[in-house]
């Protein structure tokens, strides 16, 4: 009996092709994608682990993921909106700030978490073979989760303030968010790999995000930029930031009272800029994954 089982097993093994133990440098560009698709259960579980573990044992639980942006919103609303008087120039300032903050928080969270993801999961990387992309992907997943929780509040605010945007503007919001997501994932994957070899990256990223926050129109509107440097190369440089484009898209789509160009000061070719940004973002993601793939072979010994 036992030998039958054994023989069946060895017969089954004989039919399988011999494959590279890790990921061979020469395998096709789609092989990792297939591999990741096969392990999608794992990405979901790792995402859940990250979310659950974050708020486990706290009595407020998931509510915490709302409190931080709400506190930020209040600070910006009062300090910038009321004290510095921005709300006189930007209608529905609270809504405006919250849209920008939601997009920005998502971006910052995904990139920062993903950057640390390989190093923080070093125990696993060293002991088990996994397609290592699952870790930055799980960071994207947990970022998406936080985003959706905030997004629900945003919708509630829109309904309460009766500032429902027109349906025709919604594609802006979706495209803008997609642009942010693809850039965040690309950057996250790239930095996750580099951070294994150069641990300074995660600290650098933290500092860079403090600065970059002011390089996108989150707490001020693009109209101010346009009025100051409109038509010069500075405005072009400002618009080269894909996150700026993504946030502009989200604001254009969801901020009803700023829909007109006079109030919002939207760049005239915004749709094309977003589409172009998205295309470049896709290219960047492919490049980032190529780098990741090159570097991942030595992760286990460097972590």
């Amino acid at each position: 009996m036992a030998t039958n089982v054994a023989e069946q097993r060895s017969a089954a093994i004989a039919t399988l092709p011999l494959r590279h133990s890790g990921r061979a440098a020469g395998s096709g560009p789609l092989a990792p994608v297939k591999e990741l698709w096969a392990r999608r259960d794992l990405v979901v579980l790792l995402t859940k682990r990250e979310i659950r573990a974050r708020y486990k044992d706290s009595s407020l639980g998931i509510a915490w993921s709302l409190l931080r942006p709400l506190a930020q919103l209040l600070v910006y609303y009062f300090a910038l909106g009321e004290l510095l008087g921005l709300s006189r120039q930007i209608p529905d300032f609270a809504l405006f700030v919250f849209i920008g903050l939601t997009g920005w928080t998502f971006y910052a969270e995904v990139v920062q978490k993903a950057t640390q993801s390989i190093v923080h999961n070093g125990g696993l990387v060293k002991k088990v073979y996994l397609p290592r992309e699952v870790f930055p992907l799980a960071s994207l997943g947990s970022g998406l989760f936080t985003f959706f929780v905030q997004f629900i509040i945003l919708i509630a605010a829109i309904v309460v303030l009766k500032q429902v945007p027109s349906l025709s503007a919604l594609p802006y919001a979706i495209a803008g968010f997609a642009l942010i997501a693809i850039v965040a994932l690309g950057l996250g994957i790239l930095l996750a790999a580099v951070n294994v070899y150069l641990r300074d990256i995660e600290h650098l990223v933290e500092v860079a995000f403090v600065v970059l926050f002011w390089a996108s129109p989150v707490v001020y509107s693009f109209r101010f930029v346009n009025e100051k440097v409109g038509g010069t190369w500075l405005e072009t440089a400002y618009l080269c930031n894909p996150i700026t484009l993504g946030i502009l898209g989200m604001q254009r789509g969801l901020w009803a009272s700023g829909a007109s160009p006079e109030v919002g000061g939207w760049p005239p070719n915004l749709p094309w800029l977003i589409v172009l940004g998205f295309a470049i973002g896709c290219g960047f993601l492919v490049f980032a994954h190529w780098v990741f793939n090159r570097l991942q072979g030595n992760f286990a010994q460097e972590v």
């Binding site: 004989a14 590279h20 259960d41 579980l45 486990k56 044992d57 088990v128 641990r199 010994q301």
Partner: protein, 389 residues
């Protein structure tokens, strides 16, 4: 039976590690400016080729730093070889660390799903095995408790339970069988035996010669990244002991410079057949460099696979050991040794009264028992049997 297919193949694999002690941006910038690379490299593996047939149990042995764990990781795809290639097929489970990826804040049950997914099980398959896993781990009552409250034993039990239910064709084991209490260890060994009957392939890294000797059909001996032997288990363990001796001699010469107190200079062992047993004599020659008033020599007789048959201390056996620098010879005499025919090994150690070991030599000598024996196994005992009505 047809020839077994190859389940894993390692072809001309070498692995180089680069050691760079510094990792911050500033230090890297400095070393760039100075144009000097602050890194050194060494080869953990050199030109290793290995074909592993399905259904075999292979032991990778060697002393610490010989590259055996690196080789295991390359077979498992965790490390990539610097040159050469490693191929495999079938489902793999690597027990390099039990409970790798357990999250302390999640419950045992949640961690089973997570750990199983890490090892490659889909959610549906995990559902199917869940009860068996919990049952095997033997910690039902704590399964909905967070893992951070587990004792290390419970942690390991759960990790092992998940790993053995992944239904692997190829199981990689690194030193993890020596965990848990004795009943659990026995359970693990039973599971390994079941795996062997099922025709699963096991690649095992172990320091326990006894374990390797009893489990493996084939032993690969590594020394400093080079394959020294590949073949039948018993011979492999002998080669392993030789590498230990080489290493001990290397370290002895090192230690000599630092001033060694006592060292084993020479050991001779002879077995002679007698009427109802063998007489085994062991002569131990000890050099005393820095004499201490209290010292003792212990001689152990072992089987080639590392099972200790007996250990005798010279003092206990009636010898007086005078302090004094120079060469001392101690004679051990074992009467009526009821061993069956075969070759046996002698280990020698010199101990201080506080338990500190000044010197130890494994496989210091061998002796061969050659006499008419009727029993199987190790012992020829005075046995009789009769039919009772």
């Amino acid at each position: 039976m047809t020839t077994a297919p190859i389940i894993a193949s390692v072809r001309d694999v070498s692995k180089r590690f680069v050691l760079h002690p510094e990792k911050s941006l500033k230090e890297r910038a400095f070393s760039l400016v100075r144009g000097r690379r602050n890194s050194s490299e060494f080869w953990a593996l050199k030109d290793i080729s290995l074909e592993i047939e399905a259904g075999t149990t292979v032991g990778l042995v060697g002393h610490n730093g010989s590259g055996k764990s690196t080789l295991l990781k390359i077979v498992g795809g965790i490390l990539e070889p610097t040159s050469g290639e490693a191929l495999r097929r079938g489902r793999l489970a690597a027990l390099l660390e039990l409970g790798a990826g357990f999250h302390p804040d999640l419950t045992g049950r949640e961690n089973i799903y997570l750990n199983a997914a890490i090892l490659g099980l889909s959610r549906k398959e995990t559902d199917k095995y869940l009860d068996a896993i919990i049952d095997f781990s033997g910690i039902e009552q704590f399964i909905d408790t967070q893992v951070k409250f587990y004792s290390s034993g419970m942690h390991v039990r759960l990790g092992f339970a998940v790993a053995v239910h992944v239904d692997p064709d190829l199981l990689l084991v690194d030193e993890v069988l020596a965990v848990g209490d004795e009943p659990f260890q026995r359970k693990c060994m039973d599971k390994i035996a079941e795996f062997q009957r099922d025709g699963r392939t096991i690649v095992l890294v172990s320091h326990s010669a006894e374990q390797v000797g009893s489990l493996c059909d084939r032993v690969v001996v590594l020394k400093q990244g080079v394959m020294r032997y590949d073949g039948e288990a018993e011979k492999g363990l002998r080669v392993l002991r030789e590498t230990y001796i080489e290493r001990a001699q290397d370290t002895t010469s090192d230690a000599g410079a630092r001033g060694r107190i006592y060292s084993v200079n020479h050991v001779d062992a002879v077995a002679k057949a007698q009427g109802d047993g063998s007489r085994v004599t062991v002569d131990v020659v000890v050099d005393a460099h820095d004499p201490q008033p209290e010292w003792d020599v212990t001689v152990s007789l072992m089987t080639p696979s590392g099972v200790r048959l007996t250990s005798v201390g010279a003092k206990e056996a009636g010898a007086t050991l005078p302090p004094g620098a120079g060469t001392h010879t101690i004679e051990f005499d074992f009467h009526n040794v009821p061993l069956t025919s075969g070759t046996y090994v002698v280990n020698v150690s010199i101990d201080a009264p506080d338990g500190f070991m000044w010197d130890a030599v494994g496989s210091a000598a061998t002796f061969t028992v050659d006499r008419e024996t009727t029993a199987g196994g190790i012992l020829q005992l005075d046995a009789s049997a009769q039919y009772r009505v």
